[in-house]
């Protein structure tokens, strides 16, 4: 009897210990976090060596940020920066897991589509005090970029590092085959009724497997077989999603559509006919054989289809310039500005990245030093020199433009939007992932011809507003 009770007590103690171990794990972590946090604020000026973990997703930029990190460590011998790079998908999955387990990097490259949800969860450090005490002048950046990273209650959660816009990418060989050149793309117009001169261009560049072009009476949409060598006039970069940064957004905006009324808005405009018309135009032209079917884009990848020469034109972002122009083995490309739409002007989404500090950072002061350095001309000019992205500071963007022209690449199609103020802001909402989950499949259904844009987008519009309003 006694023995039995003893075993039972022993057993309970084992479980108790395990439970205690599990339970106190988190508590210990936070305790250590707090301790070293306060320690580090004391030791900010002391000689204690710390390592700052920094995450980014763009492998093309890693060497230049490594260069920045080396220069930064040379100037601040006590702070070492360890850079980790992950592919886009793994990056966000990994970051989510890291936040959940309180092991997030000190500093990470943040995206406008994601940061509001991080802010809501309270995992980002507000930079207001740092910016004020160090006197960082946020008007040094391109107008609007710094404000994107400020929440409605005035807290700043990132310092801008770069910006991007959208342009048409053209396969020069396919242009030449049709007797055209890049100059013919400079002043295209587009409308959702007949596609405008942009539509004519797309038809002209479409070639079916029998060699008939899209504007010929013999054109056979059923012979648009990628394997058999058919060329689509226009290729989709990827899934439309809710915001269509590289796909429909430039067209919809030139048709007068705005996704949300201002940043952090609690209403979106998915029931707007200006959007439905635009998406329907894409669906109709996919059905007609001029634009790549969404199923092929999903299985092969939009950029791959373009680089294999199966699409003559596509829209893509400025961060892809070095990938598209850089590799001599791929198709020769040139860039043209997005077409002028019914609203009277071109349009491009203006997106910007920033560096944010996480609340799981044990050394926020040193993390701030690194963020400040990355947002300074010294580092941004290094990154600009890499000709990968356009840095947030105008002088550094000039460096990037010069680097591109040294490489023989004309990037004015991307910069024209900033010069002529034809950009619209990335729609910042606090529920981007939920909106994406609702609108993304609806967009896909339209593109697959399983319903009309007006019905399907109208169908989710109310639900989207319900999420935003809550």
């Amino acid at each position: 009897m006694n023995k039995k009770w003893r075993s039972l007590v022993a057993l309970l103690m084992v479980f108790g210990l395990i439970a205690a171990a599990c339970g106190s794990d988190g508590a210990d972590d936070t305790a250590t976090g707090d301790d070293s946090g306060s320690e580090s604020s004391d030791s900010g000026s002391s000689d204690e060596a710390v390592t700052i973990d920094y995450w980014l997703w763009d492998g093309n930029q890693q060497p230049f940020y490594q260069e920045c990190a080396d220069a930064f460590t040379a100037a601040n011998p006590n702070i070492t920066v360890e850079i980790s790079q992950f592919g886009w998908g793994d990056y966000w999955d990994g970051l989510t897991a890291a936040f959940a387990s309180n092991t997030a990097p000190d500093v990470f490259t943040d995206h406008l589509a994601r940061y509001p949800e991080f802010v809501e969860a309270g995992v980002l450090v507000s930079l207001n005090d740092y910016v004020d005490s160090d006197g960082v002048d946020v008007s040094n950046y391109f107008p609007g970029l710094a404000e994107l990273w400020t929440s409605p209650d005035g807290e700043r959660y990132g310092l801008p590092k770069d910006w991007d816009t959208i342009a048409i990418v053209a396969n020069d060989d396919k242009l030449a085959d049709a007797g055209l050149s890049n100059a013919d793309l400079a002043e295209l117009t587009w409308n959702p009724q007949d596609g405008g001169t942009f539509g004519e261009m797309v038809q002209k560049l479409t070639v079916d497997a029998n060699g008939n072009t899209g504007d010929s009476p013999d054109f056979d949409p059923s012979a648009m077989d990628i394997e058999a060598g058919a060329v689509y006039g226009f290729g989709l970069e990827g899934n439309f999603g809710a915001f269509g940064q590289t796909t429909f957004s430039a067209f919809a905006a030139s048709n007068g559509w705005t996704a949300v009324d201002g940043v952090w808005a609690d209403e979106a405009n998915y029931a707007d006919p200006a959007l439905a018309e635009t998406v329907q135009w894409f669906a109709d032209w996919i059905a007609a054989g001029y634009i790549t079917p969404i199923a092929d884009v999903q299985s092969l990848g939009g950029t791959t289809i373009f680089q294999q020469g199966n699409a003559a034109l596509m829209t893509n972002g400025s961060w892809m310039i070095s990938t598209l122009s850089g590799d001599a083995t791929e198709v020769p490309v040139s860039y043209a500005p997005t077409p002028i739409g019914p609203a009277g002007d071109r349009a491009s989404m203006f997106n910007g990245l920033a560096d944010s500090i996480t609340t799981s950072s044990e050394n926020p002061d040193q993390a701030w030093e690194w963020v400040k350095y990355m947002a300074s001309p010294a580092c941004q000019e290094v990154v600009g020199g890499g000709a990968v992205v356009f840095p947030a500071i105008p002088s550094a963007t000039k460096v990037a433009q010069d680097a591109h022209s040294t490489n023989g690449v004309d990037v004015s199609a991307f910069t024209t939007h900033v010069d002529n103020e034809t950009t619209f802001l990335f729609p910042i909402t606090d529920s981007a992932s939920q909106i994406e989950a609702l609108v993304g499949p609806a967009m896909e259904q339209v593109l697959r011809g399983e319903g009309t844009a007006a019905d399907l987008l109208g169908g989710v519009a109310e639900e989207v507003n319900g999420i935003l309003g809550s």
């Binding site: 057993l11 084992v14 989510t96 936040f99 959940a100 299985s299 092969l300 896909e444």
Partner: protein, 311 residues
């Protein structure tokens, strides 16, 4: 515990019963610890979380009662996920069980070779993700070998890329992967059927088909019940094949559209993409309840506890 030891011992002395319990305890302890730490505690925590609005990123949340559940019942995507999962389980279990029984009977009746019996298990030895990637490539409408073969006969093939074909395709892939393992379980059950029954049947002039339907299947019932319970639960939990095969290179997991958004994909999306841990937990609890119900009825209907052999 006191009650047990005070009860008059049946079929042995009190000391023996007690001694047996003690030995068994130490053998069960490692499994018990694993069960408590990795199943019981997380399950209870999951049930608790399902009544909160916990955010994955912040780890904070407040108890909101049954709000998650009432929201769940009005969530079209949840019902879509249930429908898609049920469709998947139906195709997967029916095809997998029929093929597995046939393979097991063939292993039993046609060959004694351990090598051939081993070969049947091979697909099960390949990791799920590898299988999914393999079939993504094989079945790709543009690059895949299967698409090429279909093309020779002038048939346009869509597998993972069509809203109607994607679930049957995934079910087929998993049937291929699991049929060998299921066959092995059934094969073990076949070994318990006395050979004398077949000899007697053969003497009476029964055909192979008659022996299958009159002897094998009825006597296999308890084993089949167990196999069905295990495979149905496993089938409801399909995740990796969908995640890998429909995510593809430019797709979205659960696509095309929402055609393969099975319940586990939706739970994952809610918890780890949208950070709504509480809501995702509520869905997991619903799945738990559904699985418990299905298992109970399976065991009940198939009378898993009794065998026809003795009667």
């Amino acid at each position: 515990m006191t009650a047990i030891s005070n009860r008059p011992a049946v079929g042995g002395s009190k000391l023996n019963l007690y001694g047996g319990w003690k030995v068994a305890f130490w053998f069960l302890l490692p499994a018990l610890i694993g069960f408590v730490v990795f199943y019981l505690v997380p399950s209870i925590r999951g049930i608790y979380l399902s009544f909160t609005d916990t955010n994955l990123l912040s780890g904070r949340g407040e108890v909101i009662g049954t709000e998650n559940y009432s929201e769940l019942l009005q969530d079209d995507l949840f019902w879509n996920a249930i429908k898609v999962t049920a469709w998947y389980v139906l195709i997967n279990i029916v095809s997998q069980t029929i093929i597995a029984v046939l393979i097991a009977v063939m292993m039993d009746r046609l060959t004694k070779s351990a090598f051939i019996r081993g070969v049947v298990l091979l697909p099960w030895l390949i990791p799920n993700v590898v299988v999914a990637l393999l079939f993504v490539w094989l079945l790709d409408p543009n690059l895949g070998y299967v698409a090429d073969v279909f093309g020779w006969f002038g048939i346009d093939s869509d597998f993972f890329t069509s809203t109607t074909a994607v679930i049957p395709t995934i079910a087929g892939v998993n049937t291929w992967r699991h049929m060998g393992y299921t066959a092995l379980l059934i094969f073990a059950g076949l070994q318990t059927i006395p050979g004398s029954l077949y000899e007697a049947a053969a003497l009476d002039g029964a055909t192979e088909m008659q022996m299958l339907t009159r002897i094998t299947i009825p006597l296999l019932r308890p084993v089949l019940a167990l196999v069905l319970v295990v495979t149905v639960i496993g089938s409801f939990q399909v995740f990796d094949t969908v995640q890998v095969a429909t995510g593809g290179f430019g797709g979205r997991p659960g696509g095309p559209v929402n055609a393969s958004r099975v319940i586990y994909i939706y739970i994952y999306e809610k918890a780890f993409v949208q950070s709504q841990l509480g809501y995702a937990s509520a869905m997991s609890v619903m799945l738990l309840v559904v699985l418990m119900g299905i298992t109970y009825f399976q065991l009940k209907i198939l009378r898993a506890g009794e065998s026809d052999l003795s009667s």
